[in-house]
């Protein structure tokens, strides 16, 4: 019985429960709503809730646990010789699963009967051919051991899903029955339902924690796996990034330093562009601009923040890069030969800087506006000009906040992906020349995980180690920035 059908049955039971519960409560009150403890809806909702929620929870747990149990039981059947031949237990198991799924599919399509599928003999019939006919491609012929395991797998899964259906429906019916019996005019249905809704709200709020946990778990497990295959000291202190392309591992040099250097260099260029422009724009908008000008210029600048990064990436690759080559490349306007190709630190940094202008300017704008007017008035009263007030009174007062804003912008720049994937190049090198192509942590995460390499090889796993480094760096910057901003805010409250 498919899961969808099961869910549908449970929901129908819930709907039935709603009607029954409501009716029973009304009957006990003799049809007089005023004698009920809660509104009739709550009795219905209570019955529906008790019928659906435990059953669904059970289904979810079953779906998570059953594959584990079956996998463990089946993988015990496979001999060490088969595993040694195939390379790893996972590979054999995935073959087993494919065969089992393929047989199920063949039965569902009517290519063979259920009994035929259960009694297949690999020595007499061509299992691979049969499965290929229903669209399941196998890498090699099916050995009798694999087929036995697959049959066992099918058997256990089949029994499991029958039991699953029975248990889930029983839970639903039991819940319905209990809640139906409870529905009485003095039953405090509203309180129960509201407690249920509150639990739902709490669950929704905890998804944030689950997400963080998911991020950390998914990063940590694979990173530990990576460090088992590749020395941690070589990763953190290696000066060369040179993964082998064979996909089978071996001979790769996976040092993070060149990537980190590229990341920091590009972010530095981006901040050089974004910080002065953003800060001056914020000062002008908050101290000098008329209301009219401000109401036009500020949203226009913020359009820059709403443009997706893929657009900036394309802009870097196809417009800014060639333009920079025309100026700094060989035979360019300046007559210098600094730049060989369009993708370079400068290209990515410049475009990323443009993207960050509104980020810096709106954050600084808020901070400058938070400086109390009395401080400005005091400064003007002493005869200072506006610019002197800004430089000597407002900026020092707003400095911690502005530093916080710059740190947030830096964290954004370090985590930025599309601009560097398209604009910065693919070669990892430790160079000082801003017109060289370099690469970053994020760009390499993309290239290592989108390639053809096997997910168990160090070349793919390194992406998780890079990911966790990136996560820690940006998280650290954010926490530090928030700490500074928070400390600053306390001064005027």
């Amino acid at each position: 019985m498919s899961n969808l059908l099961l869910i549908a049955i449970v929901i129908v039971l819930g709907a039935v429960g709603y009607v029954l519960g409501r009716k029973r409560a009304l009957n006990t009150a003799g049809g007089n709503i005023r004698d009920l403890h809660s509104l009739p809806v709550y009795y219905g909702a209570n019955t529906a809730m008790t019928a659906v929620v435990p059953a669904m929870g059970l289904l979810l747990v079953w779906l998570l646990v059953q594959p584990m149990v079956v996998n463990n039981a089946v993988s015990g059947m496979i001999s060490d010789a088969t595993i040694a031949e195939a390379g790893s237990r996972d590979l054999v198991m995935s073959d087993v699963r494919r065969v089992a799924d393929g047989l199920d599919l063949a039965v569902a399509n009517g290519a063979m009967s259920g009994a035929e599928a259960s009694n297949l003999d690999p020595s007499t019939s061509d299992v691979r051919g049969i499965l290929a006919a229903v669209g399941v491609a196998l890498g090699s012929d099916v050995s009798s051991e694999t087929l036995d395991a697959a049959q066992r797998y099918r058997g256990m899964s089949g029994t499991g899903s029958i039991w699953k259906a029975v248990v889930v429906i029983a839970a639903s019916v039991a819940g319905l029955g209990i809640a139906y019996m409870q529905s009485h005019k003095d039953f405090r249905a509203r309180n129960i339902v509201e407690r249920g809704v509150l639990a739902l709200l709490i669950f929704a709020a905890s998804i944030a924690i689950l997400t963080t946990l998911g991020i950390i778990l998914s990063l940590v497990f694979s990173t530990v796996e990576f460090f088992r295959l590749y020395a941690a000291s070589d990763f953190f202190f290696g000066l060369r990034w040179n993964p082998s392309f064979s996909g089978r591992g071996g001979g790769s040099e996976l040092g993070i330093l060149p990537l980190l250097w590229g990341t920091l260099y590009i972010s530095f260029v981006a901040l050089i562009v974004a910080v002065p422009l953003g800060l001056f724009a914020a000062i002008y908008l908050s101290e000098y601009a008329s209301n009219r000008f401000r109401s036009i210029a500020k949203p226009l600048l913020e359009v820059l923040a709403g443009i997706p990064t893929i657009v900036y990436g394309l802009f870097a690759l196809l417009t800014v890069g060639p333009l920079l080559v025309d100026v700094f490349g060989s035979g360019g306007l300046l007559g210098v030969d600094w730049m060989a190709g369009g993708t370079a630190v400068m290209t990515a940094g410049l475009v990323m800087g443009i993207m960050l202008i509104p980020f810096v300017s709106s954050l600084s704008d808020d901070i400058i506006n938070a400086v109390p007017q009395s401080m400005r008035d005091g400064s003007y009263g002493l005869g200072a000009t506006k610019s002197e007030t800004v430089r000597q009174v407002i900026l020092p007062a707003a400095l911690p906040g502005i530093v916080g804003a710059i740190l947030l912008a830096a964290s954004r720049a370090i985590g930025e992906t599309m601009i560097v994937v398209l604009g910065a190049g693919a070669a990892a090198r430790l160079s000082m020349n801003p017109f060289d192509a370099m690469t970053t942590v994020t760009a390499k995460i993309v290239s290592q995980l989108t390639g053809d390499s096997d997910f168990a090889s160090p070349e793919a796993l390194v992406a998780f180690a890079l990911g966790i480094s990136l996560f820690i760096i940006t998280l650290g910057l954010n926490v530090f920035a928030l700490y500074i901003v928070r400390k600053y805010r306390e001064q005027y409250d």
Binding site: A208, I209, V311, F315
Partner: protein, 449 residues
């Protein structure tokens, strides 16, 4: 009275020091003031110039993608080639592959250019047409078998080089080392343009069509990946909105001040700042490797983007819940509503416009996001099939608009760049519409208490 009539004695003049004339120091200070102001204005101007040049680059490079060059040809659909038995049996006709149609097209080209003097050999004439021309012809014949035996006028896609020539992207110099087209072809095209058999028309196939293989940029469209994005946004909307609103209601209205609440708050503010690529890694590890959901499927993209958008929605929802004055809650509680009733019957409806605005902005952000989609496999293949139904729309591999743009930007043929820019125009139009709706919603329903 007397004091007023006394003419004041003029202030004693100190030599050369009038208040009206600036001394050197004042001049310096005022100049510094002017400079400072100019820097500020300059910074804004530079920022706006960047915006203008970005938009200019997009419009300039992207608009050609919306027109496409077609060649109008009279093709004789010979019965002996397409339907040897002559009984118009559809299965028989389907057996003729595109190879069977190529000679017909070649013949038609020779006829069409018969009265034009050209150096192009008859064999090379087909280079002005797209490689998909035969497939198009076959599809039309299969759809309407009665055409067989007649000479029918077809409008066939020109090759991307010809298209580029009409758009000014390809010049005769470029073709010197190009084996796909010769300068002689272009002379031929010039004549055919004058005759009216080659023309550029609006390209609906770009907006509605499917992606094409690397060698046929002229046939590539963004329609299928638009559907992919649409299904992803459905997932995001139906997961992120309820979960985000529920989480915000809990945090804003019910949460007690304790460690658990603090933990949630810290998590939400940190998640808002986590780089999007990290969410891609999460999606890959959790949804594809752990939960075994199909790779490249919009549902996986939607789930990943949901997790990424949640913090945005929670933050804006909390702000709009906070904006509802406490008197509303007090009044509801005062007439006997429970806490839950006061929130769901009174606070939430009043906060709804703000929540919707925040949701639309969160959706717009999710629509333009690319990096997580790269990791869950929405690139590297050709999104050439429309999903055939709602379930397949969620579960079958597809691309998404930003991923499709990235895919085109990565391809070697510059003809794809034009597609990428064109795709950006469409993407930005969507984003603009969503943001305008959000602004209008805010204007219309914003309430000051």
């Amino acid at each position: 009275m007397t004091d007023a009539t006394v003419t004041p004695t003029p202030a004693p003049r100190t030599k050369g020091k009038s208040l009206m004339s600036e001394d050197a120091r004042t001049k310096k200070r005022n100049a510094a003031e002017k400079r400072f102001r100019a820097y500020g204005l300059g910074a804004i101007t530079v920022g706006l110039l960047f915006l203008v040049s970005l938009l200019w680059a997009i419009v300039q490079n992207g608009t050609p993608a919306f027109t496409q060059t077609f060649v109008t040809l009279d093709v004789a659909l010979l019965e002996e080639k397409l339907d040897k038995t002559g009984n118009r049996d559809i299965d028989e006709i389907k057996k003729v592959s595109t190879f069977g149609y190529n000679p017909l097209i070649a013949e038609a080209l020779v006829t069409a250019t018969a009265d034009i003097e050209t150096e192009v050999t008859d064999k090379d004439l087909k280079k002005i047409l797209s490689a998909s021309a035969a497939a198009l012809l076959r599809d039309q014949v299969i759809a309407n078998p009665d055409l067989i035996g007649e000479t029918v006028e077809f409008r066939l896609l020109a090759s991307s080089r010809v298209d580029g020539y009409l758009k000014g992207r390809v010049t005769r110099e470029d073709l010197a080392r190009d084996k796909n087209l010769d300068a002689a072809h272009l002379d031929l095209i010039d004549v055919m343009v004058e005759q009216g058999s080659v023309e550029r028309v609006f390209n609906w196939d770009f907006i509605l069509g499917a992606d094409a293989s690397e060698s046929r940029p002229e046939a590539a469209g963004i329609g299928v990946s638009m559907l992919g994005s649409f299904f992803m946004m459905l997932v995001v909307l139906f997961l992120a909105l309820p979960i985000g609103v529920a989480a915000s209601i809990y945090l804003e209205e019910f949460a007690p001040q304790n460690r658990f609440t603090d933990l949630i708050e810290v998590n939400i503010s940190n998640l808002a700042a986590v780089p999007s690529i990290v969410f891609g890694i999460l999606g890959l590890a959790a949804f594809i490797q752990f939960a075994h959901l199909p790779q490249s499927a919009p549902i996986v993209g939607g789930l990943t983007l949901t997790l990424m958008t949640l913090p945005t929605i929670v933050i804006s929802t909390r702000a709009s819940l906070k904006a509802v004055p406490p008197s509303i809650r007090d009044a509801a509680l005062g007439v006997g509503a429970s806490k839950m009733q006061s929130v769901f019957h009174h606070v939430l409806p009043l906060a709804m416009p703000g929540i919707l605005t925040g949701t639309i902005i969160g959706l717009a952000q999710a629509l333009g996001e690319t990096a997580p989609l790269l990791l869950i496999g929405m690139v590297g293949f050709i999104a050439s099939n429309y999903p055939d139904g709602v379930a397949s729309g969620f579960l079958d591999p597809n691309s998404a608009m930003p991923a499709q743009i990235y895919e085109w930007a990565k391809r070697a043929d510059p003809a794809f760049y034009e597609r990428a820019w064109g795709g950006i125009i469409i993407l930005l139009l969507f984003l603009m519409t969503m943001n305008i709706i959000a602004i209008l919603l805010r204007r219309k329903f914003e309430r000051r208490w």
